[in-house]
């Protein structure tokens, strides 16, 4: 156990040092969510408070999945992931290290975007504890999704492309810009099958709005999604080295 914890910790540290400033992490993980937030703010500063939960959710989604593609696919290509697998730890621990590293990156980016965004919706009041809960579970969930995408392919660009197939539909279906209630029934059901819906819902409540589910419900469902993503991700990683 001590071995595993140590290895997880040093994987996170090394990934921060080596990859946080890699171009794909910057473009999809930082610039994209920042540019989205800025353009919506410039378009309508007064109504921005309404969009803030969705933009924060997008930031979580893009920053974690983009970073996961870097920390996993860079290493799959160069073969350096094998260094980690030589260490006395399980595949699960190695993946957990990768996952927490991306979550930490996501946390930093989301915190930066939040400090820019939150002052615009101060009038509604917000709940810091609720905010932390929803941010942290969402970070883990989308890091897990990113990990699953990344171990399924080899190259960074493949992971970003496959990621976009999932990220963009979620962006339009999960209540980021368009409330879910206004979607046609078929799409609405689809929306409830996607994790970002619960992140947006949670953020809305944490930022003084009303949600469709309770905050606890959002957190629990997101945790469920995380498990659903992590288990096959570990299995796929193990199969790569079968």
């Amino acid at each position: 156990m001590r071995d595993e914890l140590r290895i997880i910790y040093y994987i996170i540290r090394k990934d921060m040092r080596a990859y946080y400033l890699k171009p794909p992490a910057i473009s999809w993980g930082i610039l994209f969510p920042a540019a989205m937030s800025l353009s919506f703010y410039l378009r309508n500063p007064a109504g921005f408070g309404e969009l803030a939960p969705g933009l924060l959710a997008l930031t979580v989604l893009f920053s974690t999945t983009a970073m996961e593609a870097v920390v996993i696919n860079f290493e799959l290509r160069v073969g350096s992931l094998e260094r980690l697998l030589l260490a006395p730890a399980t595949f699960g621990s190695v993946l957990l290290g990768k996952l927490l590293g991306a979550s930490l990156f996501g946390f930093i980016i989301t915190a930066l975007v939040a400090t820019a965004v939150l002052p615009t919706c101060l009038d509604r009041g917000f709940d810091v504890v609720a905010l932390l809960f929803i941010v942290i579970t969402s970070l883990i969930t989308f890091s897990s999704l990113g990990a699953l995408i990344s171990v399924a392919v080899k190259e960074v660009f493949e992971a970003q492309t496959l990621g976009n197939f999932l990220r963009f539909p979620m962006m339009f279906l999960c209540g980021v810009f368009i409330p879910i209630q206004t979607l046609p029934p078929g799409l609405r059901h689809l929306a409830y099958a996607l994790p970002l819906t619960y992140t947006v819902d949670g953020f809305r409540q944490a930022l003084g709005g009303t949600g469709n589910l309770s905050l606890v419900g959002d957190v629990l469902i997101l945790t469920g999604f995380a498990c659903v993503f992590v288990v096959p991700a570990v299995a796929l990683l193990r199969r790569r080295f079968a």
């Binding site: 040093y10 090394k14 697998l85 030589l86 260490a87 006395p88 080295f241």
Partner: protein, 333 residues
């Protein structure tokens, strides 16, 4: 550096590596075919074979980076399928293709491995510096690895593989793609680690390298071990229990070979440049025959020496392959 003699009661007596009936299949290709061998403590064991023989595949299975299709692998008595964690603490690997982090400096690369393997924090930095100094990279320890040459990267890879003081070091084609000077330095280093008590398992497709470096060599062809012995024993086996003597006469005439060949105790005579290679059962018989022939034919012996087959000749005999197959270079690492 000083390797502590390590613990682990029964593990201390078990062979460093014990492989039995190991097979590895990739789809329809049988890359490793029922291989069985053991590596003893303190030896330098070489896996020698042409491209595609299955050397890397075997190393990957031994180090847990790949799983066997059949058979069993034990490293210091730990089953690599059931208990890889304990085994992993005891070995290091220098892979065929250097997979260090280009984004980090040489020092950071070595330190990271020390961290992963739980080297005590107060020792990490000292050990990393010591190793980089030993490999002549002391002044470059803070340079990013992307600026390093291939030989320098290989040296860092070795430092990274031994920083946790493993008892067993796997090296997959350590000198492939290195120039003569770097290759020689590297061989010296491997010997030095071995003298300090590290068991070495290496693969190579250089016959001379295996000959110079290894205590025992397994010849691997198409996934099968066709011979496994000390270099000397392999050469002896190639000479099929006989001896060979090289001789030069003055004057050297064509009929020398014919005349010698007819004498008792001589199996075969072949021309080697301006000398003759005379094979027989015993050195004394062969030399007696040569001396007698010289006396009778009135020729002078200007050179006489026993010769041993080279490992290259042994390889050709034992594998039935041309030694050319070992000389094809691959794209670098």
């Amino acid at each position: 550096m000083g390797y502590d003699t390590i613990n682990a009661g029964h593990a201390a007596e078990a062979p460093a590596v014990a492989v039995s009936e190991l097979s590895k299949r990739y789809g329809r290709l049988l890359a490793v075919d029922r291989v069985t061998f053991q590596v003893q403590h303190g030896e330098i064991f070489g896996l020698l074979g042409p491209n595609g023989a299955g050397k890397t595949t075997i190393i990957r299975v031994l180090t847990g980076l790949s799983r066997p299709s059949a058979g069993q692998v034990r490293v210091f008595a730990h089953d690599m399928e059931r208990n890889p964690k304990e085994a992993k603490k005891l070995f290091g690997l220098v892979p065929e293709i250097t997979n260090l982090y280009d984004e980090l400096s040489a020092l950071e690369n070595v330190l990271f491995m020390a961290q992963l393997f739980g080297v005590p924090p107060q020792e990490r930095l000292d050990r990393a510096h010591q190793l980089l100094d030993l490999f002549g990279l002391g002044s470059k320890s803070r340079v990013r690895l992307s600026h390093f040459s291939r030989g320098m990267k290989r040296a860092v890879a070795i430092a990274a593989a031994v920083v946790h003081r493993p008892r067993l070091l796997f090296l997959d084609e350590p000198t492939a793609g290195l120039d003569v000077v770097h290759a020689r330095t590297l061989r010296r280093l491997v010997r030095r680690l071995n003298q300090e008590g590290v068991t070495v398992f290496l693969t190579t497709h250089y016959l001379e390298e295996a000959d110079q470096l290894c205590d025992r060599i397994a010849l691997l062809v198409k996934g099968r071990i066709v011979a496994l012995d000390t270099p000397e024993a392999l050469k002896d086996r190639a000479s099929k229990g006989g001896v060979a003597v090289e001789v030069a006469f003055e004057p050297m005439l064509d009929q020398c070979a014919v005349g010698l060949g007819r004498r008792t105790g001589i199996r075969r005579v072949t021309a080697r440049g301006d000398r003759l290679r005379v094979e027989g059962d015993k050195v004394s018989e062969v030399v007696a025959a040569i001396v007698a022939y010289a006396a009778e034919s009135g020729t002078e012996i200007t050179h006489i020496a026993t010769v041993r087959p080279t490992l290259e000749e042994a390889f050709v005999q034992l594998t039935g392959l041309s030694s050319e197959v070992m000389k094809t270079e691959k794209g670098g690492s």
